[in-house]
Structures are given as structure tokens and as C-alpha cells.
Symmetry: C2
Subunit: 198 residues, 2 copies
């Protein structure tokens, strides 16, 4: 390859990003070389500062630049509901729906013995403490259906039921989803979760 | 959106990259937050250093961290041939073929009056100087076929023919390409460029 060394280094670094292969890395690198220096420095600064400043919320383990995240600090959010999700990304996805006004708890993953992730590796103990101490009326488990997700949901259900009501989000046919093209498991879940018409 | 400010800034900056929309930017940002700080700093440094150190070769205008690029400095490369390409990326692509051992000249684009790019905005004058001064036996124009590319090729042909032999790379059906699925212009070019069997 005839990349000049600083370019080769940049392309190599860009390739460490998810979904970025050699071709994309090259395209990104050439784009970056054409941008003004101030813009490139701003990107570099944003990278380092995000990494340095962002940590986990002490209460719910959502990503935040403060010790306690904005959602936990917001007095307008319903403290009596906690929605439990595996990842901070799930919080963002749920917030986009604008349908939920309670609090969250980010587990940091799901129980997966194959990957060496047991309950101790997740933020489960602080969740139990929150639920047992705070006046929590409902815990919603919003964990994707999979072997690991279902295990985590069952585990948390048993753990939290002594303290409060525990629910799980619904699974079924997605909006616009076609019966004919849905996989069997989704259809089975959709049947299982059927409800009486109002 | 409930992104904490440093995360929002990072996502915004990542979105300025080509082919990176809000979803990809979010995915990249979350990935970056999960990597060790040293790795993120290395990426940031690679960005800034590539931008600061890389300029254009004084001779051929290929990207380089030195004043004259590696290809121009290489005494094993055939000085009597110059391959003219619009972009540094084209040099990399041609180098990958390992079929060409001459020198290059990077134009920095193609003539495109609609975008305000005339011959003066490209590195054409230095090319004429190279061709007129150096002992160049052949100039190969390797510019993609398009209205602008063809214009540039014709323009350069007229300009350089008084000094040396000027050729153009072949256009036609790509390897593995199916006649049935080739577009008309490609097929027309393939017919036009037909050669006698050996």
C-alpha cells in the first residue's frame, strides 16, 4: 500500500470502529483530509472529551456527564416506576417514544454464562436496593426476547416480585409487520400475548 | 433527546462524516465510550496528526507527509510515464493492481464548470510543465467516463499532445460483468473499444 504513514495510521485507527472496513476507513480518512483543520480538531476533541467526561449515573447507571443523570434529577418524572433495560441505548430508544415518564435502570448487559456474565457483573444489586428502599409501584422489564434476555427477565422477576409489581413489555408482530413474513417465534409470542378486544 | 452534552456533541461531530447518519453516529459514539481511554486518544491523535502532517507532493500532488511523495522519490519507477488521475484515491486504486510502474499526476478533480471548477482550479499547469521539461514518453489519462471526465480528458489531450504520446485507459465490460445487465453506455464503449483477437 502506498499510504503515507500518518494516513496509514489514521485508516488503521478508523478501522477499529464498528462497521468500518478498509474501504470505508479510506473514504473517511480522505474526507477528513479535505476538511478544515479546525473541524478535524473539533472532532478529535469531541472524542476525547466524551470519553473523559461521560460516566455512569450513580442511581440508574445511564450514561451521563454528571454524577446523577438528567432523568434521575428530573422532578417531573414518576419515581414510582422503574423501567429496567440492558443498555443506555435502550433508554434513548424508549425516550424517543415519549410514552414513558418514569425512571430507568440500566443493567449494563444481560445474564450470559457463555460470556462469563452473571448477575454480579450487572447492576442488579443496586436495582434491588432501589426497589426495596424507594416507593416503587412497578418495575417494567424491557429486555429483548432471546435466551439470555429471557433468563435475565425471569431472574429479575423472581428477585423483585417480593418488593413490588413486576411487568414485562409486550412482544408480538411489529407495526407494519406482515403475518406471512414474521418468524415463528415472533408469531408464537404474538399469539401467546393476545388480548380481548375492548 | 436525552443525550448528555458531551455525547450529543460527539454524535453531532460524527454525523459530519460521509455516510454517517444519526443512527450510525450513535452506534459509533456508544462504541467509543466503551473503549479504553488510550484507544480513544490514539484515534483523536491520528485524526489531528494526519490532518496536520499530510500535504500534497510538490511534484505530482499526491497526498504525502513529505514534500515529495514516495512514488516520485522512488528511483525504480519509470520516469517516462505519467498516469494522470483526478484524485489521490485513484493512485491508491491503481497501485493495488501492481500493473503500473510509472509516475502519477493528481489533478485534484475534474473540469466541471457547473461547480465552478475550471482548468485553473486543477493542477494542470504543473502537469504541462512536467511533460514539457521531463523526458516523458507517454501520458496515460485515467479519468472515469462522465461528462466532466470526458471533457477533462479531451482538454488534457489537446494540451499535451504537442509534447508526447497521450493515451486513455480502456472502458468496457468489467470483469465478471454480464452483457445482459450492462448499461447501454458501457456496452457502447465496449463495442467502440473492440480489438482484434491476437
Amino acid at each position: 500500500m502506498n499510504y503515507t504513514p500518518p494516513l496509514a495510521r489514521l485508516i488503521e485507527r478508523l478501522q477499529s470502529l464498528p462497521g468500518v472496513g478498509p474501504k470505508t476507513a479510506q473514504r473517511l480518512a480522505f474526507h477528513i483530509l479535505k476538511r478544515p483543520e479546525t473541524e478535524v480538531e473539533a472532532l478529535a476533541t469531541a472524542l476525547v472529551e466524551a470519553k473523559k467526561q461521560i460516566g455512569l449515573c450513580q442511581v440508574c447507571f445511564h450514561l451521563t456527564a454528571d454524577s446523577v443523570c438528567e432523568i434521575c434529577r428530573n422532578p417531573n418524572r414518576d419515581e414510582s416506576m422503574i423501567c429496567v433495560v440492558p443498555d443506555s441505548r435502550d433508554v434513548i430508544a424508549l425516550e424517543k417514544t415519549r410514552e414513558y415518564s418514569g425512571k430507568y435502570h440500566v443493567l449494563g448487559g444481560v445474564i450470559s454464562p457463555m460470556d462469563g456474565i452473571g448477575p454480579e457483573q450487572l447492576h442488579i444489586q443496586p436495582l434491588v436496593e432501589r426497589v426495596s428502599k424507594e416507593k416503587v409501584k412497578e418495575v417494567i422489564l424491557a429486555i429483548s426476547p432471546s435466551v439470555e434476555g429471557d433468563t435475565t427477565t425471569l431472574y429479575l422477576g423472581q428477585l423483585l416480585k417480593p418488593f413490588t409489581r413486576v411487568t414485562r413489555i409486550a412482544f408480538g408482530l411489529p407495526m407494519g409487520g406482515d403475518l406471512e413474513y414474521a418468524d415463528e417465534v415472533t408469531l408464537a409470542r404474538a399469539l401467546e400475548g393476545r388480548r380481548d378486544l375492548d
